[in-house]
Symmetry: C2
Subunit: 251 residues, 2 copies
């Protein structure tokens, strides 16, 4: 058996999320369907770095699977992409050690969230960015970002529906917001993320940008560990799983 | 009765083209459905500057319709956008004279065609640009563009299926190609366009870019008036109806 790791890109807009579900079009479902075809009907199970929700995109999701085939990695890429739909693309395939695990071995994940701060909606961005038509003070948002970096308990900023047991403590290496024209790019790099964490945080950062909260409120919110204190989870279409880093790689 | 002209934007990827068809989702169908709702069940017919095919987008399509209602144009815009789906947007509504006609009064149309010249496909652009993975000589393409400007019979560059009777002579005011990174932007401004004309022309310009034809061949192709001499109509997803100009407006 050979263990293979793939970097995958997907446009999440036409998928019911990552995880396989009966009668729904999912990323895992499409990948396993393609692998089954390549393996003459044998089921091949994939493992991902983590799931993504309906409408969430990926530019650097990682998965692994095991195969009895010994074929060059370039041919794996070609064969799988031929079998996959246009909104799901294998960027690279690497042979890894049989102890590698796409989820357990993650050392860093990067998410990005895009907000289009324009008065009118753009039909071409409706699946790819969150349209936010209100005036924003970006320097206040940048200030708030600094309070989020470091190691904190993120209970306040994670879904109450979360099934995760154990610690809600995570370390964020980078939290930033850059403005390019009417587009805001939020970058989050961290050791790990709780369910809905990026979407809840960006929602609060937009509150700060609107002057509905102060940047330094972030500290208190973190300390209070109460999901009820902050607003709704903002929509999925602005969110991209951008990169997943493992120890063995140089990047 | 009041005649109203609208500028409309649409992402054509989920529409079966502009023209209304039974059981298909079309731009005309969605617009007339919204207007019918606003007019308490009365049918309101729209007229467009012209149709667009399945998968073709618009950033400045124009339509007109007549209504017995006298409501401010800003309210028209708001009411219609509330009733329309997310991939179809009314950018503005203007009251025009009752002799105005969205098709017959056109003095200039602008189309743009986008080509992504990258080796690998991009899942996020699959509906919005034509992926062309081969090496291109852009200066040869630019040279070929100059032969297309002016007044010519464009029979060679129009669909053989075209039902248009009468002259195939059209005047192109601008034919240009600009490279921005791996993106090529083709701009066509003209008095009018034949069926599939832009998509056939860009196909030939890409042949020139690949060295499969010389820029000066365009002259001969125009003279020979034979659709069979040139390649296939390239895909719709790169094409945008960008603007429609009428005499009365300053542009």
């Amino acid at each position: 058996m050979v263990r293979l790791r793939c970097t995958i890109y997907y446009d999440g807009s036409q998928f019911s999320g990552f995880q396989i579900q009966p009668k729904k079009r999912t990323i895992q479902g499409e990948l396993e369907r393609a692998l089954k075809k390549m393996h003459k009907g044998s089921d091949i199970r994939i493992q991902a770095s983590g799931r993504t929700d309906t409408g969430v995109h990926a530019k650097g999701q990682k998965i692994h699977f095991d195969s009895p085939y010994t074929i060059p990695t370039g041919n794996w890429k070609l064969a799988l992409n031929t079998l996959l739909p246009g909104d799901l693309y294998i960027k690279d395939v690497t042979e890894v050690s049989e102890t590698f695990h796409a989820r357990y071995d993650v050392v860093e994940k990067e998410y990005r969230y895009y907000v289009t701060n324009e008065k009118e909606p753009d039909v071409f961005k409706r699946h790819y960015s969150y349209h936010f038509p209100y005036v924003l003070n970006v320097s206040k948002i940048k200030e708030a970002c600094t309070y989020l970096e470091g190691t904190h308990d993120f209970t306040t900023f994670s879904s109450a529906k979360a099934t995760t047991k154990g610690s809600k403590e995570r370390t964020l290496f980078q939290v930033s917001c850059e403005q390019q024209g009417t587009e805001l790019e939020f970058i989050f790099r961290g050791s790990g993320f709780l369910y809905n964490m990026v979407r809840i945080i960006v929602g609060v950062l937009l509150d700060v940008g609107q002057g509905r909260r102060n940047p330094e409120d972030i500290n208190d919110l973190l300390k209070q560990k109460d999901r009820q204190l902050v607003g709704e989870t903002i929509p999925p279409q602005g969110l991209y799983l951008w990169n997943v880093v493992y120890e063995e790689e140089p990047s």
